[in-house]
């Protein structure tokens, strides 16, 4: 083993930085997967277009930044109501066309697949296929605490993602509608017997899921350049996180995002980076083999 290689393995700073970089990356992955955790994990809607909506969020952040000088993250937060309403509208179409008639499994998947392409093509037609980037005072700034780096380009998405996740977690567990959403995911009929309309509840839940895409999109464009088809890179990763965490578990989604983030960071630091996706999906397969319901999912 060469001297340089030995230094790499025994350097404690490198190890600590790999952990922190993994957590920061995992925090961002949590933001990407959070909406899917609600839509797919709790409502059983295979919204394969969720990452495409995230890209729409990125383009809004770009647009408001380029035209009006808005900070991308502020734009993402301000536009959550718009995405919420959009989500409710999308669910209404989905419900009327597929769920009501019991065709949601395959036709619903085709619907969201089509939606993904429509979003992609629309973005291409309006903005072209060039990469879009944003500027913000914190992009390119690094806070160093001891030997550990906190690049704000990754740290701010981490903080915003955690705040969003905590907010959603408390909304779902403490409010009436939130608990109704959890209930509809567990027993739709029981909820109906309690006098609540499961369709309306699911509509609100899907709106919430899409509202997270506004913020996640803003975080994505803070981290790196975005073009319309980049959403495809996140489909596999987002679904893997939701399944690994346990369907419908917000805490499980965050935990799974951290696991994938740290695994990716360690592989990039210590092993051959090419193996990063294989290791991430290897963890998923192993977990599902020993615990089919995911890390924090309820056994069926």
């Amino acid at each position: 083993m060469t001297g340089a290689a030995t230094t790499v393995i025994t350097d404690p700073g490198l190890f600590l930085n790999a952990v922190v970089a993994g957590l920061l990356l995992g925090g961002f992955y949590a933001a990407v997967a959070l909406g899917l955790s609600v839509a797919f994990g709790q409502l059983d809607i295979v919204n394969i277009a969720h990452p495409a909506f995230i890209i729409v969020g990125s383009y809004f952040a770009y647009l408001f930044g380029a035209r009006y000088g808005f900070d991308p993250v502020i734009t993402g937060i301000l536009l959550t109501p718009v995405f919420f309403v959009l989500g409710m509208a999308v669910y209404s179409i989905y419900y009327a066309s597929f769920e009501r008639t019991g065709q949601e499994s395959l036709s619903g998947l085709a619907f969201f697949f089509g939606l993904m392409f429509i979003i992609e093509v629309t973005l291409i037609m309006i903005y072209g296929v060039d990469y879009r980037l944003v500027s913000a005072p914190y992009i390119g700034v690094n806070w160093k605490i001891g030997v550990v780096d906190f690049p704000l380009r990754m740290a701010i998405p981490f903080v915003v993602s955690m705040l969003m996740t905590i907010g959603l977690y408390f909304y779902l567990s403490k409010t009436f509608i939130g608990r109704a959403i959890l209930a509809v995911s567990q027993d739709r009929q029981a909820l109906q017997l309690m006098g609540a309309d499961p369709v309306k509840i699911k509509q609100v839940a899907f709106g919430l899921a899409l509202a997270t895409a506004s913020i996640a999109g803003a975080l994505l464009i803070v981290i790196g350049p975005v073009e319309p088809s980049i959403n495809r890179e996140y489909i596999g990763r987002a679904f893997a996180i939701v399944v690994l965490g346990g369907m419908g578990s917000i805490a499980g989604t965050v935990l799974a995002a951290f696991i994938l983030g740290i695994a990716e960071s360690f592989v990039l630091t210590y092993a051959s980076p090419s193996w990063a996706p294989a290791v991430a999906f290897g963890i998923l397969l192993f977990t599902l083999a020993v615990r089919p319901s995911g890390i924090l999912g309820r056994p069926s």
Binding site: A4, A18, D130, M154, F266, Y270, A276
Partner: protein
């Protein structure tokens, strides 16, 4: 009897000629009445290389319009027949089959990029057509097709010539150790293969040599792993989103190395240049044309002016320094060959293109035996004194100083990158 028939035929022919000439009396220019020369191609208008493909198409259309304004080729107007290949190699063979068999184009040229040039080769080779290609890296290494002419000035041994300048600069500063990082994708792997060979042949010690998957989100762990090996030189072969991630991570973490850059795609694009601004300072990276007194060839300014007017509306690279002039130039070469041979005969065109030096807006172009440039003119440029959020600065000489090759060198290396 025979005499009578001959006389009737002569009268008929004269009448026919006269009738055929009537429309010409009422029309100008004459070129509009001729059967057009059809140039067929697929282009990456969407998909991963869509941004470049769209800007290339603008460059090509400017050439077509320039040629038609001067009366066309062989007195015939030039017309394009093209389809979007979506940067999808699987779509390319049927498109070229359609162009040749159904649309019956007279000439073909390639799409943009190695991945979509390679699948067109067997189709074009079967028809023995000349094939001017736009930015393919080492495509002809396998095909060895004697009618392939590639406009990107990589050089006769493209994989190695691509990074030769970078390592010659490193050698001139007596640097010893090298880190190589590249995306797991065809172009980046080709580039880093060449870099590895050149580095070894020049006696560098390779202390880091790894690839990463293209959807990598955070490059900080890779930059740290590279830094831990303390290399004198960091050579990166990357695609636009990775290049941005790598440059940002290198700046955030304060990557300390003496020479940084090499084969990063994207640092030539205006939107990325504007966004990265001062983060680019000191990086030495490949390029093909930059505003510099040594590269101010006749016609390039007029071309860029036309391009920049059209680019804003199309939402593509607003400066167009990287790809569009070459998209214009590969058609210029084909057009000059057609004019010089006064023919669309593929044998004559190929023979002419193999032996002639063409004067184009990107400078004199001469092809070698394998269809690549006879000698490399892959530039190594260093970004200098850049400020934040300023696109205008990239239009001026001095923002990218040409360090290699010597024939077009415009300044000296600012050394080191960061101590």
């Amino acid at each position: 009897m025979a005499h009578s028939i001959l006389r009737r035929l002569a009268v008929s022919a004269a009448a026919f000629t006269a009738l055929a000439a009537i429309p010409a009396l009422f029309s100008t220019p004459a070129v509009a009445q001729q059967k057009p020369i059809k140039v067929g191609f697929s282009m990456a208008l969407t998909g991963p290389l869509g941004a470049g493909g769209k800007s290339a198409l603008i460059g090509m259309e400017i050439w077509r319009d320039d040629v038609n304004a001067k009366g066309g080729l062989l007195g015939r107007p030039v017309e394009f027949v093209y389809y979007d290949d979506q940067t999808n190699p699987a779509k390319v063979p049927p498109l070229y089959t359609k162009l040749i068999e159904v649309d019956q184009v007279d000439l073909v040229v390639s799409s943009y990029g190695t991945n979509v040039i390679v699948p067109a080769m067997p189709i074009v080779m079967r028809k023995k057509m000349v094939f001017p290609a736009l930015f393919g890296l080492a495509v002809n290494d396998e095909f060895k097709y004697d009618r392939y002419f590639q406009i990107m000035p990589a050089g006769p041994v493209p994989k190695e010539d691509w990074s030769r300048g970078f390592f010659q600069i490193a050698k001139s500063k007596n640097l010893k150790t090298v880190a190589l990082a590249a995306a797991d994708a065809e172009f980046a792997q080709n580039a880093v293969d060449g870099a590895r060979k050149i580095a070894k042949s020049m006696g560098f010690e390779i202390v880091y040599d790894k690839s990463y998957p293209p959807p990598t989100t955070d490059f900080a762990p890779i930059v740290r792993a590279i830094q831990a090996t303390n290399p004198d030189v960091v050579y990166v072969g990357s695609y636009p989103p990775d290049s941005v991630g790598m440059v940002k991570a290198a700046n955030e973490l304060g990557l300390k190395t003496k020479l940084f850059g090499g084969g990063m795609v994207g640092l030539q694009f205006a939107a990325i240049q504007k966004n990265l601004g001062p983060m680019l300072n000191g990086i030495v990276n490949y390029d093909f044309w930059v505003p510099a007194p040594t590269l101010n060839f006749p016609g390039i300014d007029a071309f860029l002016k036309k391009y920049q007017e059209k680019a804003a509306a199309a939402g593509v690279d607003p400066l167009g320094h990287y790809l569009p002039p070459w998209a214009y130039a590969y058609l210029e070469v084909l057009g000059q060959a057609v004019s010089a041979t006064k023919s669309l005969d593929q044998d004559k065109l190929a023979q002419h293109m193999r032996t002639t030096t063409y004067n184009t807006i990107v400078g004199p172009v001469k092809f070698g035996a394998n269809g690549e440039w006879a000698s490399t003119r892959a530039l190594m440029v260093q970004f200098r004194d850049l400020k934040a959020d300023n696109l205008e600065q990239f239009t001026k000489a001095g923002s990218r100083v040409v360090l290699y090759p010597d024939s077009v060198k415009s300044g000296e290396l600012a050394f080191p990158y960061r101590q």
